[in-house]
């Protein structure tokens, strides 16, 4: 049986319209993508949808009260809400370097949540 599934790539604003062909005994085939991101996205979206988690966490002693964070890799879509609730419990201390881990192994996904930016502490230079 041959089935065609349609997706819109969320990899970048180009929003490529993807077609994924499912055929018994054959590799999944993706068309319509402008780059590799789209091909991988369609297959993931069909088999196990994932999203990069982006949110903020509270900061102590920072020049700003919140720090933007992201999951280093996409995590299962169905875990996003629970992951955000976990992040609501986190409070980090400035100064913070971009890329530093603010939450390890989110919900046993083996994916860390990291700082999306560097943030200086209060009273340390500007």
């Amino acid at each position: 049986m041959r089935k065609v599934h349609e997706f819109t790539c969320i990899g970048c604003p180009s929003s490529c319209e993807l077609k994924l062909v499912e055929e018994e005994g054959k590799k999944l085939e993706v068309t319509g993508s402008g780059c590799k991101i789209g091909e991988e996205y369609a297959i993931k979206e069909f088999t196990a949808p994932e999203r990069v988690l982006t949110s903020t966490v509270r900061v102590e002693n920072g020049v700003l009260p919140v720090l933007p964070v992201k999951s280093e890799k996409p995590i299962p879509k169905k875990l996003i809400r629970e992951a955000v609730r976990e992040l609501a419990k986190v409070k980090v201390k400035a100064p913070i370097k971009q890329g530093s881990v603010v939450y390890e192994n989110m919900l046993n996904t083996d994916v860390n949540v990291i700082a999306s930016r560097s943030l200086e502490g209060k009273g340390l230079g500007q």
């Binding site: 819109t8 990899g11 982006t54 700003l64 009260p65 992201k70 996003i80 971009q98 930016r117």
Partner: protein, 416 residues
């Protein structure tokens, strides 16, 4: 004070322009930013999807900005934060002010305008009703949540389906607010398809097309809005009104290039883009004055903004060195069938780069069309597109050699 290249605006266009001018040999580059930090709007755009073209990665806004800021720090570029430009003269004298230096009187050889754009507000679309607290543009709400750490409301109605509004629908939902729905007066969504998927569909937030807010109720704070369906002329249809209780209205109804300074020069403007007319080197109608990014036309991709900044910076460096070719009798670029605008609007006969990239937007959604480029009436380029939509910018790259003798180049989107 004398400066070779002055860049106004520290967002993605200005960052790339300043770096590029520096890299192309200008030692004396100054970058002026009115905010307290560099990056423009990027620090508050905490979602990912930035940098897929330039870095081949999906970065968040803050990460994308930080890559450029780190590069800037390695150079001798003079960065002036919390600095407001008050005046630009035609002879390239710039007056600016900040708390550290007081008044700055700067004579520049080249100027790069990178002031970006700003949001259209409630006042500009004339929603009737009360004037309570609780009405924000999407970008302001984004700043409250992602930078200031403040939730602007609990029950949200979003007016307009622009990208920032869609992204904020998701953000509000994730932070525990209830997003009742997104109302779009047009029959088609204003934002990118990918944002309809990952911001609305993922979070089961309804999108109501051909509907708008006809009244806002509330004494101190918003208490609710009346929504109604509209007809093909966008007039509300009587009898379709529905009251929606909410405490917050988010307005996401488009972006406008911020060109008060450009008009002060004054530069020739394009009424279709809302920005200055530029050539393929991002030079405006005034020799030595360049512009790049959302101040020229509102982009979808920050990568394209950075690329424009890079071109402007390089061209400014060439100008300072006296190497930028004169712009005599340039090729005119025209928007044809179903094309709202094309940037650049002019191309010099001896083009700045080997390839000329034309960016354009369509007026209306069309399926199974051809994008064609005509040089003085002769077709020199054609490709098929399955679907074209106004929110999604299109581009065509042409070898500049094919345009050397062209008077008028025209971009057309039409059925076969």
């Amino acid at each position: 004070m004398d400066v070779d290249t002055l860049v106004i605006g520290g967002g993605p266009a200005g960052l790339a322009a300043a770096l590029s001018a520096n890299k192309n040999g200008i030692k004396n580059v100054m970058l002026i930013e009115r905010g307290p930090e560099l990056g423009g709007i990027l620090p508050q755009c905490i979602h990912d999807g930035f940098g897929t073209v330039i870095f081949k990665e999906r970065l968040t806004g803050p990460e994308y900005a930080e890559r450029y800021v780190q590069e800037i720090k390695k150079t001798g570029i003079d960065v002036k934060l919390e600095t407001m430009v008050l005046q630009i003269d035609r002879d390239k004298r710039v007056i600016a002010v900040n708390p550290a230096d007081g008044l700055l009187d700067i004579q520049v050889k080249t100027l790069i305008l990178a002031m970006g754009c700003r949001e259209r507000t409630r006042q500009q679309i004339l929603i009737p009703g009360d004037r309570p607290a609780g009405i924000f543009t999407a970008g302001v709400a984004q700043r409250y949540i992602n930078i200031e750490g403040i939730m602007p409301g609990k029950k949200i109605v979003i007016l307009g389906s622009g990208d920032v509004g869609l992204i904020m629908a998701r953000r509000f939902s994730l932070e525990g607010a209830e997003v009742e729905g997104v109302y779009e007066i047009m029959p088609v969504p204003g934002g990118l398809t990918r944002n309809l998927v990952q911001c609305l569909q993922d979070y089961e937030i309804p999108l109501h097309l051909s509907q708008t807010i006809v009244d806002i109720k509330g004494k101190e704070r918003v208490e609710g809005v009346t929504v109604a369906k509209v007809d093909s002329k966008m007039k509300p249809i009587q009898g379709t009104e529905r009251f929606v209780p909410c405490d917050t209205v988010i307005v996401s109804v488009g972006l406008i290039p911020e060109n008060e300074l450009s008009e002060m020069v004054p530069l020739a403007m394009d009424s279709a883009t809302g920005g200055p007319i530029v050539d393929e080197a991002m030079e405006t109608s005034e020799a030595g004055v360049f512009a790049a990014g959302n101040v020229v036309h509102v982009h979808d991709l920050v990568d394209d903004v950075s690329t424009e900044g890079e071109v402007a910076g390089k061209a400014a460096a060439r100008y300072v060195m006296g190497e930028l070719k004169e712009r005599e009798n340039p090729t005119k670029v025209e928007a044809g069938e179903n094309v709202r605008y094309v940037v650049p609007q002019v191309i010099r006969k001896k083009s700045f780069e080997e390839n000329v990239k034309l960016f354009f937007r369509v007026k209306e959604v069309q399926r199974n069309v051809s994008v064609k480029v005509f040089s003085d009436g002769e077709k020199i380029y054609s490709r098929k597109e399955r679907v074209v939509r106004p929110p999604e910018m299109l581009s065509v790259s042409l070898p500049s050699s094919v345009l050397e003798k062209t008077q008028v180049v025209k971009v057309v989107v039409e059925k076969e």
